[in-house]
Symmetry: C2
Subunit: 472 residues, 2 copies
């Protein structure tokens, strides 16, 4: 590997130099992007979201990207762009999102949310880490390569979405419609944080989600609990008793067959997780809980990243305003999802859940179960060419070999790319865990911002080495 690294260093040096020389310009441009309040959840901001898409399209065109388009959807537009030449090169799909969360509450912001402001080697502003700053890392990395050598080492397709913060309602249809154009050797997304400051990380596994809704119906209408209390089963009580039967005393999910096929963690992975700097006590403090809780026999990181779980997201029934009202409610309902891991099939898990709930349903109420959505877990093989390129690039960009981590959440676009196009995704994120994404005083560490550009430049070049060209 040393010779390869040296070789790569020579090839990337001009582009890296350009970045180093133009930091001020790059930050000014990021400021222009941050200044557009592309708040996707607010109908009155639709014009700003569109303006942001158009600013990006113009910027991409000026960089030398081709086929740049602002594509209308049922919601906010998607910006696509590409770069290719006639040489056989591997194809890389880069995904990012240019929409942001609302800035509220405004009072805690130390500088205006839509004015990118540098303080203490950080750039503050809404979207700096999530995800304008991180997508801009790729734009500037590609720009530097194009300026340095009028070429990129890979063919690139770029997809910049404007609805990520509202659940990507238009994305699946877009991906479905653009399948042929999108198909690449690998996808990369820069929208995740380092494991901790100073510890670059690559996420290689995501859990899937199976989202269920359970409704319990009792009497035809709310009943007076004085007149009728003692005669009928209470839907809230029935639902509570059912929820209580979804876990056993050891914190395991008590649905028969739930763990069938769950791929065990390898000793190598467990060792890798254990080598990470981690304190249960500190984590509990940060979350504000008296103590952590979960499946017995696994560490916290194992439970979060590699074990399936079941959580209640919402419950409602009867009277919940201030004061007292004495009813037996006609119904109660809960939203419950399971995070699933490799080896669990989402459809099967949904079936097992429904079957278990129907079996434990008390006969004095009616119970209905519905699956709202289900997606599989995703693991990008550690020994794959894309992952090897990412490790080498991150090592070169930050001078430290990244830790390999998994993530408990699901990233719908990664799931879609796998299920629709069979593509693996590398999550090459440059955020930090405490950068206030979705909160006031969001920021991006400038070391990670520029280190991210260096990493991206290395990554494109490494990919050209590790991935076999498809000659598309």
């Amino acid at each position: 590997m040393p010779s390869l690294a040296a070789n790569a260093a020579t090839r990337v040096a001009p582009a890296l130099a350009l970045i180093a020389q133009e930091r001020r310009r790059i930050l000014e441009e990021l400021g222009q992007l941050v200044a557009i309040p592309s708040i996707s959840t607010r109908p009155e901001s639709a014009g700003d979201v569109r303006a942001c898409a158009e600013w990006l399209a113009a910027h991409l065109a000026a960089m030398g990207m081709t086929h740049t388009q602002v594509i209308a959807t049922g919601g906010h537009p998607i910006v696509i762009s590409e770069w290719r030449d006639s040489e056989p090169k591997p194809a890389l799909l880069i995904y990012g999102h240019y929409d942001v969360q609302p800035p509220e509450p405004l009072e805690p912001w130390l500088s205006p949310p839509f004015v990118a402001t540098v303080r203490e080697n950080r750039v503050y502003g809404r979207g700096t880490t999530d995800d304008k700053g991180q997508l801009f890392i790729h734009l500037k990395a590609m720009e530097a390569c194009l300026r340095a050598s009028a070429s990129l080492p890979v063919h690139v397709r770029l997809v910049l979405e404007g609805e990520e913060e509202i659940g990507s309602p238009s994305l699946a249809a877009f991906l479905q419609g653009k399948k042929e154009w999108l198909r690449s050797d690998l996808a990369v997304i820069s929208d995740t944080p380092f494991f901790a400051a100073g510890i670059p990380s690559i996420c290689y596994g995501l859990r899937g989600t199976v989202y269920m809704e359970v409704e319990v119906t009792g009497p035809a209408t709310d009943l007076h609990s004085g007149s009728h209390g003692g005669a009928v089963h209470n839907p809230i009580q029935a639902l509570a008793e059912m929820i209580a039967q979804l876990h056993d005393a050891r914190g395991r999910v008590a649905i028969p067959g739930f763990y069938d096929g769950v791929r065990p963690l390898s000793q190598k992975e467990r060792n890798g997780f254990r080598a990470l700097p981690w304190s249960d006590r500190k984590y509990a403090q940060e979350l504000g809980v008296p103590r952590l809780h979960g499946e017995a026999g696994f560490t916290t990181l194992e439970r979060l990243w590699a074990r399936p779980t079941l959580e209640c997201h919402g419950i409602g029934g009867g009277y919940t305003e201030a004061g007292s009202k004495t009813i037996i409610p006609a119904r109660a309902a809960a939203k419950i999802s399971m995070r699933i891991v490799p080896g669990q099939r989402p459809e099967r898990i949904a079936q097992l859940f429904a079957k278990h709930v129907r079996r434990i349903a008390p006969s004095a109420v009616r119970v209905s179960v519905q699956c709202l959505h289900a997606s599989a877990a995703a693991l990008t093989p550690l020994e794959s060419p894309g992952m090897e390129a990412a490790v080498a690039a991150m090592s070169a960009g930050f001078g430290r070999r990244p830790v390999m981590q998994r993530e408990g959440g699901s990233i719908p676009v990664a799931t879609h790319l796998k299920s629709l196009l069979g593509m693996d995704t590398v999550l090459l994120g440059f955020g930090l865990p405490d950068e206030n994404a979705h909160a006031p005083n969001e920021f991006l560490d400038l070391g990670n911002f520029f280190g991210g550009m260096a990493t991206a430049i290395h990554f494109y070049h490494e990919l050209a080495n590790t991935l076999h060209a498809k000659g598309d």
Copy 2:
């Protein structure tokens, strides 16, 4: 008793005759009362509520009642009035409420809600049974006595409330402030239904209420259930597990000490309940439940009227709108009350509940328990003079000896009168169970309306016999 009954019949005959002759006028006057939309829950109806109070005050004054006042409260006014003479007579407190529920939904009404309309020997309109029609029974019974003999056989204090449908927020302070004026030998309330059509009933027992709120707090803020699911206890799950531990497998309340002191039902009472016409199947059908449910070892009426119960009235936590959101909520809460019976002290029950909940609270969350209000059960002794007068009056008014029933609910004014003034209350109700109180097409059976007046006239006279005069 036969000689007494014959004697009473002679004394009441002139008043009964007046009622029989003036049915049309009485119905017209009820129509005027029903026409005033005294909807207490609607701020914009405050003027109508006051107009209704003033209509009643004018009516009472015209009837020959004295000291009639419309008393301002923090909310809607209370109308008071009295009749007394210089003779030593027992004192009777009559309570009623002149406020009504909103008429909505309007579409199902076959005649306008605020136009009293006679169809098939029923008078339809909002408030006809709850409670304008029933309080009017007493007004017209007193009026007939006063016209027939320029006198009443008892001293009367009348309290007509305008906030019963919104939980009587001003009542306790009013009762406290008027203690001396209110103190009487007995209270009567006509605001309950017969056991069934054609089966006159007297309610001699009410359950008390102990109303609690339980809040479970987990993480400081809602957490992403992908990133954190598996590490912390979920407040909804913790609350559900606690609710599931409030009953045992036989449907008994599982709080240690809860049943201590519960006065057992006498065999006589059980036999009385069993003699009532009752069908579990029909009741389940009416309520729309697959089957009834409750404490093993007791009949439905025993469970409803004489056994303590625990019900959940509301539960809330996390995301309950349409669609899916993946959070571990920061908190979940439930409103839970217990109906208690004679022998259970409300404060003690609140303590036992709180102690049990704290004991079963999982250590990975924080749990708080609060008592919102607590009131004792009330039993009016079956062998008391007031009850004997009520039985005789009902027998005379409807030609059938009433059944003695209890009621699962609580009537706060009855509880207040007992706890503040030590007074027993007789619940001498003339409604029917299916008269659509609180619903469209509310009505009052005219047989019960005029039979109620006859009963009330008999009742006042019987009381003069059975109760020892206090000479106030």
